[in-house]
């Protein structure tokens, strides 16, 4: 029963993660995007906890807890603070409009399934089915970074990409060893903090957080 | 040994003393063709003698090059006279060098004459030098290709040898390559010796001069030497033309009789060529300087044709 339920649950939660990523494409306001990220992270933490329960891995449970703490609480806080500090900004349009973006993302999902099919096929783990979904998340996060003009959204894209990679690792191998995972979390945290500082400085220097303004260094 | 010295002495005398006569002959024939009586054929001797008696006025601007050149010119011509097979195919000093050496001796003279032309710093002299060098340079390929044609024919570049092989070849005149080479060489000879249509030796207009412009500054004995050398050059070229291409009468063995016959033959052949040149000079006008390349490239084409014909005949 559990063995049957488990892969379904995992796939469902994975889809939720991917869905959050899709929503990020649609959402325009920064605060909403941050909340979306928190939701995605929470789903991910739940998924980690489920797998931890299924595999009875204490380490993974610890990772789930750390993830929840870091990405559901700390990082959204930091980002919300940043959003507040930046204040209201006219939302710049992305390069591609929403409909086009959705089409592209559909394509990306296809690519993800195509690329990751052999990995999924060769994997004996029950979670393997969802691996392409995780990779699709990676690609969509990547695409958001390419398509969106504001620095903060780029950071959110990056964080979602990061989440998807975590998901990928989780699905493929039930997560990487604990110490590595902790190291990764540390890196992510520091990265977000540095990015926050940079966002402030960009605002200061360029009066906007549109990345397009950063175009002096050419050739 | 004495025969050798004798032959070389005769050659020197023929070239040295015959040169003014040749010039006089050409002038005389030309005058006759122009309906004039003209000066006698011995007039050039008188001219040269007179020049020797005159003082030399030399430009203050000039250097030793200017004064040295006439002597060098005469020396190169006399040297050429020593190694050219005028009478026999056993020219004693033939070992000094082959036809290429001869051409370079001429070039040496031209080189210094051109320098002398520049030395006085007059515009005419510079103009003459520049033109003379241009003509000399453009004539050079034809000379060498004509030599190549001869080398193809007789397998040798030694003057004596070319003459000897020619003398023993009875069908010489029927060889198209031979005639083509002759024509090419003839045109080159006109260019090198400053005859019409390349250069007008009788012109008074500085702007049309080539050779004359270079020697405008010379006077007295220097002028005499230069004129003499010019005459010798003409003679050597004509003698070369006649002996290389029409080697009749040249002594294959060195006996007094044969040499005497050779002398007569040479005089006749050169005389015929001189008359030919005079007739040509009467009939054609001087070419514009910048039309000269056409003439010289024409002669080059003839020489090349000669080469081609020899290649195919072989």
């Amino acid at each position: 029963m559990v063995a049957e339920l488990f892969p379904k649950l995992v796939t469902l939660l994975s889809f939720t993660v991917l869905g959050a990523a899709f929503l990020l494409i649609v959402r325009r306001d920064l605060a909403g995007q941050v909340r979306l990220f928190a939701v995605q992270s929470l789903t991910l933490a739940v998924l980690a906890a489920v797998i931890a329960a299924f595999t009875r891995s204490i380490e993974l449970a610890g990772v789930a807890a750390a993830l929840a703490l870091l990405k559901v609480v700390v990082i959204p806080r930091v980002l919300t603070r940043a959003v507040a500090k930046i204040g209201l900004q006219p939302a710049a349009l992305p390069y591609l409009g929403t409909p086009a973006t959705l089409v592209v993302c559909g394509g990306l999902v296809t690519i993800a399934f195509y690329v990751m099919a052999p990995v999924a096929a060769s994997n004996p783990l029950p979670t393997a089915e969802a691996i392409p979904i995780a990779f699709a998340g990676v690609l969509i996060g990547f695409f958001v970074m390419i398509n969106r003009r504001r620095a903060l959204t780029q950071i959110l894209g990056f964080l979602m990409l990061e989440n998807s990679i975590f998901l990928l690792a989780l699905l493929a191998t039930y997560g990487v060893p604990f110490i590595v995972e902790m190291g990764v979390f540390l890196d992510v945290l520091v990265a977000v903090l540095i990015m926050e500082v940079f966002i402030y400085r960009i605002k200061e220097n360029f009066d906007s957080i549109e990345v397009d303004r950063l175009g002096r260094l050419k050739g | 040994m004495i025969t050798k010295i004798a032959i070389e002495t005769i050659q020197l005398l023929i070239v040295g003393l015959g040169a003014p006569l040749l010039v006089g002959l050409v002038r005389r024939v030309k005058a006759r063709l122009q309906g004039r009586r003209g000066a006698g054929v011995l007039q050039p001797y008188a001219d040269l003698r007179k020049l020797l008696a005159k003082e030399a006025v030399v430009s203050e601007t000039t250097s030793w090059i200017f004064r040295f050149t006439p002597y060098l010119l005469v020396a190169t011509m006399l040297l050429s006279a020593l190694l050219v097979p005028l009478l026999t195919t056993r020219t004693p000093l033939g070992f000094l060098g082959n036809i290429i050496v001869l051409m370079y001796l001429f070039l040496l003279g031209t080189f210094f004459l051109a320098l002398a032309g520049l030395d006085a710093g007059s515009a005419f002299g510079g103009m003459g030098s520049s033109r003379e060098m241009a003509v000399a340079a453009l004539a050079e390929p034809t000379v060498m290709i004509a030599i190549f044609a001869m080398a193809l024919r007789v397998g040798n570049t030694e003057l004596d040898e070319i003459v000897r092989r020619g003398a023993t070849d009875s069908l010489l005149l029927l060889t198209p390559g031979h005639l083509l080479a002759f024509l090419a060489f003839f045109i080159v000879a006109l260019a090198e010796t400053g005859r019409l249509p390349v250069d007008n030796p009788a012109t008074h207009l500085e702007l049309t001069m080539i050779h004359e412009a270079m020697v405008l500054e010379y006077s007295g004995r220097y002028l005499m030497l230069i004129e003499w050398a010019a005459g010798m050059k003409l003679l050597i070229f004509l003698a070369l033309l006649s002996n290389l291409f029409f080697p009749w009468g040249v002594a294959l063995t060195v006996t007094p009789a044969a040499v005497a016959v050779a002398c007569v033959a040479l005089v006749l052949k050169v005389g015929a060529l001189a008359v030919g040149i005079a007739m040509l000079e009467t009939a054609v006008a001087k070419l514009r300087l910048f039309r000269l390349p056409a003439l010289l490239s024409g002669s080059f084409a003839l020489a090349l044709l000669a080469v081609v014909s020899f290649l195919f005949v072989k």
């Binding site: 970074m145 | 020396a75 040297l79 520049l118 710093g121 030098s129 030694e158």
Partner: protein, 677 residues
């Protein structure tokens, strides 16, 4: 080790020691320019003399075998000497000895302007590099020394880098030489791969193992590399810029010997490393050589910069030398080895001759530039009175380079003509015609060279000075004059008594082709191909001199008027006879410009300023008649513009947009994933 090897080794060490001490001395005495000047160049002189002895020993049959495996890995630092190497060492030393002495006096003018330590270091490194290139027996040794030579000369060219043209010249030089180096690198690697050895000495035996495409590729690459160094058309563009820009004693070496190492390489690929070549190799070399010779001298002819003229004339002479190399290769591929040797002897002798008279001319030009402060011939003139000895030496050089008897250039060109004329022994009509055209090219070249040096000497030294500097010119210091005189005497000696050296060169050529050259020597004369052609340079000289002496004597005897009156030049009675009435160098070259207009494509500009009141009065007339370099305009210009414009366009990939950059990564990822899947 035999005693002869000990001798050569010691000479090599002495040579390198001389260069080393010279370089070190120059650097250590950097604060005392005078000392540095002496130390650097005396060291070079000692080294060059030892190298001279080494070359002589090598030509006499001495060998050398030095290997230091620890130095330069992959094969190790390895030197060896056969006769060809020895000959080139000799050539280098021949030019280096006068240059070094000359430099002692000449570089005095650089005190306080440039770093004499740098010049001393560069000069010695340059010499050492050249000597070691000729001796290198390993790919890596060769390449490293090759580049050392290039670099040292590059820095020497940059001595007067405050001028923009010098900077450009230096840049162009190093870039071209490096491009050539790149070709050499690939060619050598292919060769090493094909033969399985990096030892140059083993290539000849192993070359049979090469497959045909590799052989052709190696030939083309190496020929390009060596050709670029030799300065053959169309790879010559750096040469007329770099050689004049360098100080004259360096120009002398660059033009006199450095480019010869390109010839050295070409001889190696034509006769040694690759075995007997295919006929199109020789044909290609012959064509390129003919084109180089003719175009080189044509460009020299219209040049107003004296040193530039000499540089172009080097292109011409390289062409002449390579005519022999190409002819030799062709003869070899038609199994006429004796003729191949003859052609090679002609080439080698011209190489040596050019290494004597070109430095002489450059040193003369240096003395003139030193005295007048300009390289522009149009500002010279009348120097024969102000610097008579320099003028005499320059005249000797000019006559020699114009290949006129009785000087050395004549002998080598004569030999060259004979070897080309003898090509009728090949029975292939196409090849015969090719040879006919090369003969014509060589003939045209020698005629034009005569014209060119009439201009060079006439405009520079004769008539009235065309500028104030020329009027104030003074004779060069004794050391400079002395070295020039030395070279001038060498020109005459090599021209009058070439036989002894030619015998050695015959052996050298025989080493490469396996057959003695088709030439005999008697004690004073050269006989090519069993009396095909004969020349007796010594007797010609003797006869010429005696006739020269005879003429005035005869004149005296027959009672010629010996009076001489100096008066102004005949200028149609004009009141003023100034230098402005003289024929200029530009005017001198004008007939050639018109005749060869297709090649020069001269640009004429006539700018007449009329008086504002009336068009009948002219205020100024400016006339410019410049030639354009076809190669720069048609070949290199478009390529360079294309590259630059392309690069400019391509720069937009770095647009500054982080989104675009992310997209690059994204695309790269997708592509690689697709490839991996």
């Amino acid at each position: 080790m035999t005693s002869s090897e000990t001798l050569t080794l010691n000479l090599l060490l002495l040579a390198l020691g001389g260069f080393g001490v010279g370089a070190a001395g120059a650097v250590l005495a950097a604060c005392r320019p005078g000392v540095s000047r002496w130390a650097g160049h005396v060291g070079a002189l000692v080294g060059a003399m030892a190298a001279f002895a080494l070359g002589v020993a090598g030509l006499a049959g001495g060998t050398l075998d030095v290997a230091i495996p620890a130095l330069l890995p992959v094969g190790g630092f390895s030197l060896g000497m056969d006769r060809l190497s020895a000959f080139f060492v000799l050539v280098i030393a021949t030019a280096a000895i006068p240059s070094a002495i000359y430099a002692i006096a000449y570089t005095r003018a650089y005190e306080g302007r440039s770093s004499l330590a740098g010049m001393g270091l560069g000069f010695n490194a340059f010499l050492a590099g050249m000597v070691l290139v000729a001796l290198a027996r390993n790919v890596l040794t060769f390449l490293v020394m090759w580049e050392a030579m290039s670099l040292a000369s590059y820095f020497l060219v940059m001595t007067e880098a405050e001028h923009r043209e010098t900077q450009y010249a230096g840049w162009l030089y190093l870039v071209t030489t490096h491009a050539g180096f790149a070709c050499l690198l690939i060619g050598f690697l292919l060769m090493a791969q094909g033969t399985g050895t990096m030892n140059l000495g083993e290539w000849r035996a192993a070359s049979a193992a090469l497959s045909d495409p590799v052989r052709h590729a190696v030939f083309v690459l190496l020929a390009l590399g060596f050709g670029a160094k030799a300065g053959v058309v169309p790879l010559h563009i750096w040469l007329p810029k770099a050689h004049p820009a360098a100080p004259s004693h360096v120009s002398a070496l660059m033009s006199g010997v450095m480019i010869k190492l390109g010839v050295y390489g070409l001889i190696r690929i034509g006769f040694d490393w690759l075995g007997v070549g295919v006929s199109w190799w020789g044909g290609a070399v012959l064509v390129v050589a003919a084109v180089s010779a003719v175009l080189g001298v044509l460009y020299a002819l219209v040049e107003q910069d004296l040193k530039c003229l000499l540089a172009y004339s080097s292109v011409e002479n390289i062409g002449i030398i390579l005519l022999g190399v190409g002819a030799g290769m062709l003869f070899q591929s038609y199994h006429l080895d004796a003729l191949a040797s003859l052609a090679l002897v002609a080439s080698l002798y011209h190489t040596l001759n050019h290494a004597v008279f070109k430095p002489l001319l450059f040193m003369g030009a240096g003395a003139v530039v030193h005295a007048t402060g300009t390289r522009n011939m149009e500002e010279m003139g009348g120097l024969i009175k102000r610097m008579p000895q320099t003028a005499a030496c320059f005249l000797v050089g000019s006559v020699a380079i114009a290949a006129l008897p009785p000087f050395n250039g004549f002998i080598s060109e004569w030999l060259m003509f004979q070897s080309l004329l003898l090509s009728f022994q090949i029975s292939a009509t196409g090849i015969n015609l090719l040879f006919a055209l090369s003969i014509a090219a060589l003939a045209l070249t020698s005629g034009l060279a005569a014209a060119c040096f009439v201009k060079a000497f006439g405009i520079t030294f004769l008539a009235l000075p065309r500028s104030e500097q020329a009027e104030r010119a003074h004779e060069a210091p004794w050391a400079m004059r002395g070295t020039m005189a030395m070279s001038a005497v060498a020109c005459l000696a090599l021209g009058m008594a070439p036989v002894g050296l030619l015998r050695l060169l015959t052996v050298t050529a025989a080493d490469l082709t396996g057959t003695d050259a088709d030439v005999r020597f008697n004690w004073n004369g050269i006989v090519a191909n069993d009396a095909f052609a004969v020349v007796s340079p010594l007797w010609i000289a003797v006869a010429l001199v005696s006739l020269l002496a005879l003429v005035p004597i005869v004149l005296r005897i027959i009672g010629a008027n010996g009076g001489r009156r100096a008066y102004e030049t005949w200028g149609c009675g004009r009141a003023l006879q100034t230098a402005r009435f003289e024929y200029t160098g530009t005017a001198f070259a004008n007939p050639f410009k018109r005749v060869f207009g297709l090649l020069y494509r001269p640009v004429k500009e006539l700018d007449i300023q009329f008086h504002p009141e009336s068009r009948l009065f002219v205020e100024t007339i400016a006339y410019r008649n410049e030639t354009r370099s076809i190669f720069e305009e048609v070949l290199y210009g478009p390529i360079s513009r294309l590259v630059q414009r392309g690069a400019q366009r391509a720069r937009i990939v770095q647009s500054g947009s982080v989104h675009l950059y992310l997209l690059y990564i994204f695309v790269a990822l997708v592509v690689l994933l697709a490839l991996a899947g």
